[in-house]
C-alpha cells in the first residue's frame, strides 16, 4: 500500500500578526479550487483559535468537516512545538493524514512567538512567516530566522501603517535586502 505524503505548510509569526486570519482567508480560496485542507492550530493558552476556525470554516460555512480543525496546546513553548521537539505536532498531523487520505494540504499554525521561529523540516515542507506593521518598520530590518528563512514573508495590516508610523517603502527595501530573491508580499 502506498502512503502519499500530504504536503504540509507551516504558518508562523508573532502574536496578533494575523496567522489565523490568513488561514481563514486561504482555506475558502483553496476550497473554491477543489483543494481540501486540514488545520492543526497550536495555541499557547487556549483552543480558542482552533474553535474559531472550526466555527468559521466548518460549522458555519461548511467548507470542511469539523474534525479537520485540531487544536494542540504546546506547554507554553510555541517554537519548541514546531522545531526542537515537534513530536506532538507530528503525531497529530499523522493522525489526520491516516484518517483523511484525500487531503491536499495540511496547515500547521504555530502559537504566537518571536521572530526567531522556524519550522522543522520534519514537520513542515514549507513555511510562511507573517509579521504586521504594528510592530513598526524596524521589521524586517531587525532580521530573525523566521523573517530570513521562511518560504514566503507576509507583511500584514498595511492599511494601518500611517497610524503606527510604519513606512512601507522602508519595509519593502529591507525585505528585498534581507531576503534576496525569496518572495515577500504586502497584504491587508
Amino acid at each position: 500500500m502506498s502512503s502519499k505524503r500530504i504536503p504540509r505548510l507551516g504558518i508562523g509569526g508573532p502574536v496578533g500578526s494575523g496567522k489565523t486570519m490568513l488561514i481563514e482567508q486561504v482555506v475558502p480560496r483553496l476550497s473554491s479550487r477543489g483543494y481540501k485542507a486540514g488545520i492543526v492550530s497550536n495555541d499557547v493558552v487556549s483552543r480558542e483559535d482552533a474553535e474559531r476556525m472550526r466555527r468559521n470554516l466548518a460549522t458555519e460555512r461548511g467548507l470542511m468537516s469539523e474534525d479537520l480543525v485540531v487544536g494542540l496546546a504546546t506547554g507554553g513553548c510555541p517554537h519548541t512545538a514546531v522545531r526542537e521537539d515537534p513530536s506532538m505536532n507530528i503525531s497529530v498531523v499523522e493522525d489526520m493524514e491516516s484518517k483523511n487520505r484525500d487531503l491536499d494540504l495540511i496547515l500547521i499554525e504555530s502559537g504566537g512567538d518571536n521572530i526567531t521561529t522556524t519550522f522543522s523540516p520534519a514537520l513542515a515542507d514549507y513555511f510562511i512567516y507573517i509579521i504586521d506593521v504594528s510592530g513598526g518598520d524596524k521589521y524586517p530590518r531587525k532580521r530573525g530566522l523566521g523573517i530570513e528563512s521562511c518560504d514566503l514573508l507576509v507583511i500584514n495590516k498595511i492599511d494601518i501603517a500611517p497610524y503606527v508610523g510604519a513606512d512601507l517603502s522602508v519595509m519593502e527595501r529591507d525585505a528585498k535586502a534581507i531576503r534576496g530573491s525569496k518572495p515577500y508580499v504586502f497584504v491587508n
Partner: protein, 235 residues
C-alpha cells in the same frame, strides 16, 4: 590508577533522559495546570514536592514502572506477543483520555526517533509494526523499554530515567505556571531522588498481574484538566 571508560550505553542513557530528546513531555503537566486554576492551588514548593511523590508512589511507580519492567522481561525473551499484552494492559489502566493520548503520542515518537538510528533491532521493528497495525498503542513505558533496550540501557536505569523524567516534567510545568522559581525546582528534584529510587526498587520486578494504581484525587484532577476551556498543556 584505572580510569572508568564510560560505556556507550551510559551515554545513551544520558541521551534519552535529556530534555532535548524529542519526547513531547514538555507539553504535559499531568493535571497540575488544573490544580493551579482551582481553589486548591499549591502555594509552596514543599506542596509540589509532596504532590509529585503521590504520583510516583501511587501511579507512575506501581503502574508505569511495573509495565516497563515487564516489558524488559519479554524483550529479553524476544516475545513480542507478551510485550503487546503489557502494552494493552498499561494502556487500559490510563483512565483519562488526555493522559492516554499523551502517553501514546510520546511513546510512538520516542520509538520512531530511536528507530531512525537503531534500524536493526528486531524487537523495536516488531513493536513498531504492532503499533502501526494498531495491535499495540505505543504507550510510553513500553515504548521507552523497547527504545532503551535497543540502546543497551539496562532495565533499572531505564526505570530511573522514566521516573526522573516524569518528575522533571512536572517541575518544568510548575516553573512555567509560576508556582516556583528555578532553584526551588532543582531543590525539589534533589529531594525526590530517594522516592524515585525506592519506587523503582519496589516496582520494577512487579508481576503484570500485580500492577496497580490508586490516586483518585489525581484522576479527578486530570479529568478537570480535560474539561478546561483554556489550557497551556495537553494534560
Amino acid at each position: 590508577m584505572s580510569i572508568h571508560k564510560p560505556s556507550i550505553e551510559e551515554i545513551s542513557m544520558l541521551q534519552l533522559s535529556d530534555s532535548f530528546f524529542p519526547s513531547g513531555m514538555y507539553t504535559t503537566s499531568s493535571g497540575l495546570e488544573a490544580l493551579y486554576y482551582s481553589n486548591r492551588k499549591i502555594t509552596d514548593t514543599d506542596g509540589l514536592r509532596d504532590l509529585i511523590k503521590v504520583y510516583l508512589e501511587h501511579q507512575i511507580g506501581p503502574a508505569d514502572c511495573s509495565a516497563l519492567g515487564n516489558s524488559y522481561e519479554h524483550i529479553q525473551r524476544k516475545d513480542l506477543q507478551k510485550l503487546v499484552e503489557v502494552d494493552n494492559t498499561i494502556f487500559s489502566m490510563k483512565l483519562i483520555e488526555e493522559v492516554r493520548n499523551a502517553s501514546t503520542r510520546s511513546g510512538t515518537q520516542v520509538l520512531r526517533c530511536v528507530g531512525s538510528f537503531r534500524t536493526d533491532n528486531s524487537i523495536l521493528n516488531g513493536y513498531q509494526e504492532a503499533v502501526r497495525d494498531k495491535r499495540a498503542s505505543g504507550v510510553y513505558p513500553v515504548a521507552l523499554a523497547v527504545s532503551g533496550n535497543a540502546l543497551g540501557i539496562p532495565k533499572y536505569k531505564a526505570a530511573l530515567m522514566m521516573l526522573y523524567g516524569f518528575s522533571v516534567s512536572m517541575v518544568g510545568a510548575a516553573l512555567r505556571l509560576g508556582v516556583l522559581q528555578h532553584f526551588d525546582g532543582q531543590r525539589i528534584i534533589h529531594e525526590l531522588k530517594p522516592t524515585i529510587s525506592e519506587s523503582v526498587e519496589k516496582n520494577i520486578d512487579r508481576a503484570l498481574t500485580s500492577m496497580w494504581q490508586f490516586a483518585p484525587d489525581i484522576d479527578l484532577l486530570q479529568i478537570a484538566h480535560e474539561r478546561m476551556s483554556s489550557k497551556m498543556f495537553i494534560t
